[in-house]
Amino acid sequence: MAKEKSFEELFQRLEEIVREMESEDLQLEKSLTLFEEGVKLSEQLRGQLSGAEQKISELMDKLGKDK
């Protein structure tokens, strides 16, 4: 399974979307597709951020489980 995209990558994609949308000669359809993707991404990020709770583990525990 591919590694899930990190917050940072998702944020970067969002910024990219805004940059693309800023382009003057962008087709309307493309504009709509980008907007849709952007809104979805933003919701996903919001969900991930607000759903997160502090998780603390000790490396020893982690290594113990992995082995």
């Binding site: 917050f7 969002l14 952007g38 809104v39 990020l45 951020l49 000790e58 490396l59």
Partner: protein, 406 residues
């Protein structure tokens, strides 16, 4: 006798002495014992540094002595770093101290300075080797004592500001002879086994000896070799260690490190909000632009061939209207014909037209039409409907001819 013209003034001589002394002793370390110590109300410190053979006047100004980690006392053996200064008006020279350490720690300081110089020459502190820190780390490795204040501070700050960050704690010794090796292992293990986005290593404040593991060469090299970006958080702001200089970022304290490590959830939510608003505005602008463009195209189309277009529409219109008229007229005519026939039929069937011809209809009290004399008892009342009115009647008797007697 020396001739007059070879003599120099006191001022000139002192100037020369000053040049020679200050030029030759501009940066030195001296070991000695403190005596005549005065901490002046101005904040400056004055004392004499002496050993068995000699003594020398010393001054340590406020700007330098405010960072002293100990209180100097008469009789105390110290290691002093500074320069010689000549005060011409009184013909005196003295040591201006920039650093002062208890003599027992002197060797540590010299070792620190030597290592710093060597690693600096090697380039370990150079900016070109500093790795950029992740903007939004999701996993942060903490390398510190499991029981110290540092770990509590960092967990508190990150938990409050950035609860989305997953923390992995690698407990280590942070002072004592075995600490350096332990820290090196922790860094290597953390770097290779669990790939956090960022490593923070550190400990709370302490004496120079307490912080010493973070001044050891192997720790410096482990930090330098670490693939994961690092933040150092050793002691307080005024304690600079070798580890601080090698790390990708130096935080003044563990709490500050936790704040520098990850943006707060509020900041992130705010920037998401901003992006949302921006996207909406951009889409709206794009839509407006397209509507305008469409209006423009329509106008242009109409402008290009107005005559042909209007003529064609007018022709079509006329044709359609006349065809419509025709079909409506024909339908109406045929409907009228049918209506007339129906009316004629209805007239014939109407019971009233029968009464007009002199017939009557007998109905019982109940309103029922009477078809036979037997439907009425003798003496019973009934009604006769004529063309122009109603007669109330009573039955006398039946007759063979089926005619009622009125």
């Amino acid at each position: 006798m020396i001739e007059n013209n070879t003599a120099i003034t006191v001022g000139e001589l002192t100037r020369q002495i000053k040049e020679i002394l200050e030029g030759s002793f501009s940066q030195l370390w001296v070991e000695g014992e403190i005596s005549n110590y005065i901490h002046h109300s101005s904040g400056h410190m004055y004392f004499t540094l002496k050993d068995d053979e000699a003594e020398i006047r010393c001054a340590m100004f406020k700007g330098n002595n405010q960072y002293l980690r100990f209180k100097p006392e008469n009789g105390m053996k110290v290691l002093l770093s500074g320069r010689i200064s000549v005060y011409a008006p009184r013909g005196q020279y003295q040591l201006i101290s920039t650093r002062l350490e208890p003599a027992g720690l002197g060797t540590l300081f010299l070792a620190f300075e030597a290592l710093k110089k060597r690693l600096s020459a090697e380039g370990l502190f150079d900016d070109e080797f500093k790795k950029p820190l992740p903007k939004i780390p999701e996993t942060i490795g903490l390398i510190t004592s499991k029981t110290g204040a540092a770990v509590k501070d960092m967990i508190n700050v990150l938990g409050r500001r950035a609860p989305y960050v997953k923390l992995i704690l690698q407990p280590t010794l942070v002072q004592g002879d075995e600490a350096a090796a332990d820290i090196v292992n922790a860094i290597q293990e953390m770097d290779t086994s669990c790939e956090p986005d960022l490593i923070i290593f550190g400990r709370g404040g302490g004496s120079l000896e307490d912080l010493w593991p973070f001044n050891e060469e192997k720790v410096a090299r482990a930090i330098f070799d670490c693939q994961t970006p690092t933040i150092s958080a050793v002691g307080h702001e005024t304690d600079t260690t070798i580890a601080d200089l090698v790390a990708d970022l130096r935080a003044p304290t563990p709490s500050a490190a936790a704040e520098l490590a990850a943006p707060s959830i509020d900041e992130l939510m705010q920037s998401l909000q901003t992006v949302d608003e921006k996207m909406r505005a951009l889409l709206e602008r794009k839509l407006e632009y397209f509507w305008q463009k469409m209006d423009h195209i329509q106008d242009r189309f109409a402008l290009q061939r107005p005559d042909a277009f209007i003529n064609r529409m007018t022709d079509l219109n006329t044709h359609l209207i006349s065809a419509l008229k025709q079909s409506i007229l024909m339908k109406l005519q045929s409907r009228f014909g049918q209506l007339e026939t129906l009316l004629a039929e209805l007239t014939v069937l109407n019971p009233k037209s029968i009464l007009d011809r002199g017939y009557a209809i007998a109905t019982a009290d109940s309103g029922k039409i009477i078809h036979s004399p037997n439907e009425l008892k003798t003496g019973e009342l009934f009604r006769l409907q004529l063309a122009k009115g109603i007669i109330s009647a009573r039955k006398e008797k039946n007759t063979d001819t089926h005619q009622k007697k009125v």
